[in-house]
């Protein structure tokens, strides 16, 4: 909850997938993850330049389902926080 409020305070919009609100989307910029995990996520569609939209989540907001490249994929908060969005660029 706190993170969301902070996200509102920023003019530049959400910085990572975690800060996306339900229904909100953003363009993925990079994956700050070890090579292995980043590859798996890229195979599933989390590619830089692609649009990611936050969908529903489990109670408590974690994990959350994200829509990307025609698929719906659930990620934990800790992973979503490493997927960085492009700033100023909707």
């Amino acid at each position: 909850m706190r993170r969301r409020l902070r996200a509102h305070g920023r003019p530049a919009g959400p910085a990572t997938l975690v800060e996306l609100e339900e229904g909100q989307g953003g363009i993925l910029d990079r994956l700050d993850l070890p090579e292995d995990e980043a590859r798996r996520l890229m195979e599933l569609g989390f590619l830089p330049g692609h649009r990611v939209t936050a969908a529903l989540a489990a109670p408590g907001g974690d994990p959350r389902v994200f829509r990307v490249d025609g698929a719906e994929i659930a990620l934990r908060r800790e992973t979503a926080a490493r997927l960085v969005l492009r700033r100023n660029g909707e």
């Binding site: 798996r40 195979e43 569609g45 590619l47 109670p59 408590g60 994990p63 719906e72 990620l75 992973t79």
Partner: protein, 630 residues
């Protein structure tokens, strides 16, 4: 594990058939594709086999070989492989697919051709697998599955244009509906024209590979389908922060209540049949030791277990609906936080949920878990989940000792609530054990949880029917082999030693002596020697105890499950009954499970530890229950 295959872990047919010495080498074709793209559904259609299929990624965790006979008489071997996203394996199941494709699997020849199965509603991502697979240089048919879905949701693709882009034949099918499968057969017969091969970029760089896919998709005029409307609608309920868990709870309560209420008339019917046929045999046959063996041993033993068939089938029907509809993946998301708290991940939830049916396929399903320590922890706790073999034991004792009273109006009765409590007890034991393991010997970094949500689909009657049929076969086979065997051995031991041509009273027979030898050990738990004999026999499989008690009481002249309840009430105190339930909730009484844990962990270390731990917990739990309630 012979007694438990078919629980979902289908048996691979790896041997060549007798006529395999024929001159021409039989060709091998592999089915390859991303998870949940429908490989096993097509495999089943082509081979007539019944590999388990369900609607979530990672159902197939092992290679399965089947045969196919084409119209011209040519025979082929078909290999169904676990789903892969790329040729870089990350988990055990992906390694199997990788090794088969590269000809590194010892008992399988390198495939002569490939059926590449892709989900046509998801071509943007799925086509990324085409480049590395086509570059293997084997004759390949690109099968775009779920064409019915693509069409219904307004998507389309030009298969011919895609074929010339890929340099490989492409066909649209719906494996589920059986549409377009003839094109696959024509490819297998070698009568499909192959387009000019093209140079494909084998790119380690995934973004570049995705760009390549976007280019060919544009040339093949691929229109991605609209998002599945019903899936969105259902998810807004099932993944709702409040409604989601409420629906989950309601589903669980409804399942337990109907296992008790809806199954009762059917079970009574089977019981009547068993009793009537037993009575008829007793009258029709001349008095002899054989009649006694048949009526008391076989009918008393096997008959008292068969009564539970309707109940087990009902449970499997519910599990089948959950798996085939796609709800299971959502349940895994809801459960992830709880699983994270005990140190596991949501992915462990799917094997654990299928352990409610049987621990053996559940333990095989852990192959999808990438982290080795998480995988072993999940294997070790899986047998705590209440498998269907515990159901007869629980039902028998609950029906004998707990009077039926409504608790939540007609929604939940006291017996269903007691059953629910036992399921929770097993789940708690699993959770606490996981916590212990993950904070000590199996400590590891938190693994990433990534799970794809499949669209919801209607479970087909055929798929549900086949599951029930397979389950009934496994259950009856077990009744006809293990339980029958135990009943016969028990009957013989109960009639030895023969004195003056007469069988001894059962307390003085070999069975009685064995039972009374271990009695001091189990008396603190509130069990007498007959229950003790049942416990020993249930080491083979849990439900055997029902057969054993049925046979022992049958020899005392009380056959049938209803009088089995009376006999139990006479022999067990209520405290002893609770202790027995607790014992069964915790103990690892299943040869099949021990065998599969040994195979999957590669040694006796883990299964031995698991057996000792679960046995100690069962003894301690039953002891405490009996002493507290006495």
């Amino acid at each position: 594990m012979s007694s438990c295959h078919g629980c979902g872990a289908a048996q691979p047919l790896t041997e060549m058939p007798p006529g395999a010495a024929a001159p021409a080498k039989r060709k091998t074709i592999a089915l390859v594709g991303p998870p949940n793209s429908g490989k096993s559904t097509l495999f089943n259609r082509l081979t007539g086999l019944r590999q388990k299929v369900a609607n979530f990624p990672g159902v197939t965790v092992e290679k399965h070989v089947g045969e196919l006979r084409l119209e011209d008489g040519t025979e082929l071997n078909l290999i169904d492989l676990p789903g892969i996203y790329s040729l870089t394996p990350r988990s055990e199941d992906e390694r199997v697919a990788h090794d088969v494709l590269h000809g590194k699997m010892a008992d399988v020849p390198r495939p002569d051709g490939i059926l590449l199965i892709l989900d046509s509603t998801n071509l943007g991502r799925h086509l990324m697998l085409a480049a590395p697979i086509l570059s293997l240089g084997l004759p390949t048919l690109v099968v775009l599955n779920m064409a019915d879905d693509l069409c219904a949701r307004g998507g389309k693709v030009d298969a011919a244009a895609l074929a010339s882009q890929l340099g490989a034949p492409v066909t649209l099918i719906s494996a589920r509906e059986g549409i377009g499968v003839d094109a696959v057969l024509r490819f297998l017969a070698g009568t499909v024209a192959t387009p000019e091969p093209v140079e494909l970029p084998v790119l380690q760089d995934i973004p570049k590979c995705r760009e390549w896919v976007a280019r060919i998709n544009a040339r093949a005029r691929y229109h991605a389908p609209a998002p599945p409307v019903w899936t969105r609608r259902l998810d807004s309920v099932f993944l709702h922060p409040v409604l989601g868990p409420v629906v989950f709870g309601a589903v669980v309560v409804a399942v337990f209540q109907s296992i008790f209420t809806a199954a009762v008339p059917l079970m009574d019917g089977v019981r009547q049949l068993v009793t009537l046929s037993g009575d008829w045999l007793a009258v029709a046959l001349p008095a002899s030791p054989w009649r006694s063996l048949l009526v008391e041993g076989v009918w008393g033993g096997v008959g008292s277990v068969i009564v539970f068939l309707p109940q087990i089938l009902l449970l499997f029907l519910f599990i089948g609906v959950l798996e085939d509809s796609g709800y299971l993946a959502r349940a895994a998301v809801i459960a992830d936080r709880t699983m994270a708290r005990v140190g596991l991940q949501g992915k462990s939830f799917i094997p654990l949920l299928s352990a409610y049916a049987c621990a053996v396929p559940a333990i095989l399903a852990t192959r999808t878990i990438e982290n080795k320590r998480d995988r072993i922890a999940t294997i070790l706790i899986a047998p705590f989940m209440t498998c269907s073999a515990r159901l007869p034991v629980y039902t028998l004792i609950i029906a004998a000792f707990i009077p039926e009273r409504p608790l939540l109006g007609s929604a939940l009765g006291s017996r269903a609530a007691a059953m629910l409590g036992l399921y929770l007890l097993g789940f708690l034991a699993a959770v606490v054990t996981a916590r212990l393991l993950k904070s000590s010997v199996l400590k590891s970094h938190r693994a990433t949880f990534i799970l794809e949500m499949p669209p919801y689909r209607w479970p087909t009657l055929q798929s549900l029917g086949l599951r029930l049929y397979d389950r009934a076969k496994v259950f009856l086979r077990r009744a006809g082999t293990v339980i029958l065997g135990v009943a016969v051995v028990l009957w013989i031991l109960a009639h030895l030693p023969v004195q003056n041509g007469q069988a001894p009273p059962i307390e003085h027979s070999v069975v009685g002596v064995i039972g009374r030898t271990i009695e001091p050990l189990i008396r603190p738990l509130g069990f007498n020697w007959k229950v003790g004999v049942g416990l020993i026999s249930s080491l083979a499989a849990r439900e055997v105890i029902v057969g054993t008690l049925g046979a022992i009481y049958g020899m005392e002249g009380n056959a049938g499950s209803a009088s089995l309840q009376e006999a139990l009430r006479h022999d067990l105190t209520p405290a002893g009954a609770v202790a027995l339930l607790v014992f069964f909730a915790f103990a690892m009484q299943c040869m099949s499970t021990i065998a599969v844990v040994r195979k999957e962990t590669g040694g006796w270390r883990w299964p031995a530890l698991q057996f000792a731990y679960m046995g100690a917990l069962a003894y301690a739990g039953a002891f405490i229950a009996n002493q507290l309630l006495r």
